[in-house]
């Protein structure tokens, strides 16, 4: 009996593609023979827009890249401009920045767990994950007034200091979260059905992963100990004590375990920050052009000029976003607007490896492997 291959379209509107993403699969029965990814449904021209906005005006656009974790996006851009201009950032501002980023890392991994398990069929985890995320979003609302797209960072610091009552609420959240992560691990990690769906699915070896340009937890799940916070430390990370979570098995289960361990490490970092945060200004004093305004030790947004011209030059700076290596390549020509901003997004580069991972598997395996890559379409398409 002859069989034919047919083309199956996992269309842009699909519940488990985490956004508008299209897979063109060539199938032989149940097995996938070839997978072609079609992108661009969410392309908004962010890089072109950057050339028409001043450096300060572009910060809200960076929020919309990876909208689940907006703080690290802000930070990557702001760090690039600060490197270009040579601005120094006060110490307290750095502490607040890392606090916001690590909190956002926890939120991101909760959403990851929830949507991965929803795709696999257990619909309870997403409810629990969003319940914890709600508490974290309330903390963010106390901090900067927004729940999802923060625009909290400024060139030279952050927008405002920590409000009163933030640290006690943060402590409460951390204690609660510690117990909950243990609960979730007990419920999920040993579940036989979960193990059957995730072990040895979506295997990619370390050399291939590096060759494809994968970074972040997806790479650490293949045994490569590459964490930018350890390799090229930035901000206050050299002073903090944490470890990079690496699992050598190269399959989906390893990538999942890396993120669960990262949540615990983020809690550990948050505790250290809360213990050692110093007192100082939160935004830098100005360095170019406009005369300083005196007084007002905190919320000194007016210290730093709004129209800001860094010297001409280029810089590429990268950070460890929750999804991988997020980098901004900023080219300045000495005017108030950047000449070119190129965004190196982790989801885009991680997605390159999907066709390699998925050939020879079945569609439920594609969904499981794709869920562990943790892609957000705003990041892929920009």
């Amino acid at each position: 009996m002859e069989t034919d291959e047919f083309i199956l379209n996992m269309g842009p509107v699909h519940p488990s593609t985490h956004g508008v993403l299209r897979f063109k699969l060539r199938m032989d029965g149940e097995i996938i023979k070839d997978c072609q990814v079609v992108l661009g449904y969410l392309h908004r021209g962010t890089e072109k827009l950057a050339e028409m906005k001043t450096y300060l005006q572009f910060i809200p656009y960076t929020d919309r890249l990876d909208y689940i974790s907006a703080m690290p996006n802000n930070y990557a851009y702001v760090k690039a401009v600060e490197e270009l201009a040579g601005t120094e950032v006060p110490l307290r501002a750095e502490y607040i920045r890392v606090l916001a980023m690590e909190l956002n890392r926890i939120v991101n991994h909760l959403v990851f767990m929830g949507s991965l398990l929803l795709d696999l069929g257990a619909s309870t985890m997403i409810m629990y994950g969003f319940r914890e995320r709600e508490k974290a979003l309330q903390l963010f609302e106390m901090l900067c007034g927004a729940r999802m797209t923060f625009s909290y960072f400024r060139i030279g610091g952050v927008r405002e200091d920590l409000p009163e009552g933030f640290i006690p609420k943060l402590n409460e959240f951390m204690n609660d979260m510690e117990k909950r992560i243990t609960d979730y691990e007990d419920l999920i990690n040993g579940n036989e059905i979960f193990l059957m769906r995730m072990k040895n699915i979506g295997v990619i070896s370390a050399e291939e992963a590096i060759n494809y340009g994968m970074t972040g937890p997806s790479l650490r799940g293949s045994g490569v100990n590459y964490d930018i916070r350890k390799m090229e430390p930035y901000s206050i990370y050299p002073d903090l004590d944490f470890k990079a979570c690496v699992y050598p098995e190269c399959d989906s289960y390893a990538r999942y375990m890396v993120r669960v361990d990262e949540m615990r490490e983020s809690l550990h970092i948050l505790r250290q920050i809360v213990d050692t945060i110093p007192e100082s200004n939160v935004i830098a004093t100005q360095k170019y052009g406009v005369a300083p305004m005196t007084g007002m030790p905190y919320t000194a947004q007016t210290y730093f000029p709004r129209i800001f011209t860094p010297p001409a030059g280029e810089v590429y700076s990268r950070i460890e976003a929750p999804k991988g290596e997020l980098g901004f390549y900023v080219v300045s020509d000495g005017t108030t607007k950047p000449y070119r901003v190129k965004i190196r997004s982790p989801s885009f580069c991680n997605l390159t490896a999907i066709p390699k991972m998925v050939v020879g598997l079945k569609i439920p395996d594609l969904i499981a492997a794709f869920g562990t890559i943790d892609v957000v379409l705003g990041d892929v398409d920009r």
Partner: protein, 365 residues
Amino acid sequence: MIANAYELIVYILTMTGIYEPTYALFQSFGAEYLLRVIIVFFEIGILFVFVLLTVMFLTWMERKVVAMVQSRYGPMVTGPRGLFQPVMDGVKLIGKEDIIPEKADRWIFTLAPFIVFVPALLVFIPLPFGESLIISDLRVGLLYIIAISALSPVAILLAGWASNNKYALLGAMRAVAQDISYTIPLALSAIAVVMLTGSLSTVDIVNAQSGTWFGIIPKWFILLQPLGFVLFLIASIAEMGRIPFDFQESEQELVAGFFTEYSGMKFAMFFLAEYAHLFAVSGIIVTLFLGGWSGPVLPFIPVQITSLVYFLIKTYVVIFFAMWLRDTVPRVRIDQLLNLGWKIMIPLALLNLLVTGFLVTAGVI
């Protein structure tokens, strides 16, 4: 000893003095069989209404149980605590446009939901809801139940074929594969129970589980057949297509289920059939392994009512377990599912049969 529901109704009518005159009335027309037919329709009507009400209640219960596990409320708006939600769902589904695809086979497309729904109701005939609350105590009751359940793959294939949609057909074929591969361990586990009682009649099976050892431990077959119970439970959850075996209905799966093209009332019938099936299967599990309607007899209440209450409590415990399972574990992939059915459960069921047969012949149990 009142044997079945017909005799119960006759007994009640005789006690209240209605039966004799009406019988005489019908006999004067020479049509006493007509009275019999009317009573039979009446008892079937009661069963039908009871099953439909239970099914509607089960849809509400499922949403509430799932919501409880997920730490949220569930339906709360329609009626007290959301109890009228199934009614509202029914009204909504009746009001939907009834779409039949252009190239579909109209007759079979319309008939398929009924062919799925009717066996789900027929299964209730030999199911003993309580002492003497059984429509008909068939001597081959258990065989009848398994045979009727085996009709559903036919209806599923009809539904998938008549939709004229290649994905619906693929979904139907997968559902049929799942169904038949799990009917075998189901039947084998049930046969082990039959070995213990020596009879296929459901009433005999329940009577064999009455009584206690040492005055406390009831003689339920779950204690004599633990492996059989587990296998029967897993096989029935797989046959019903619930999580963890519900890749048919998973929205995350690409190929849609066999009921993709159905809308409105026809779609509702598939869903009602599924919940009726759930209730029936829980009833069968209770009958076979958990002692049916047996329980301690209370002094002043007629034994029919207490036995009904015990039966319903036990059935709802099994249903609650199935619903609890649904929102705790992820889905099993289709090839892992068939693997489990053919390579693991059938050998275990055969082993169970062997051991039981050996112990029964040796006179131990």
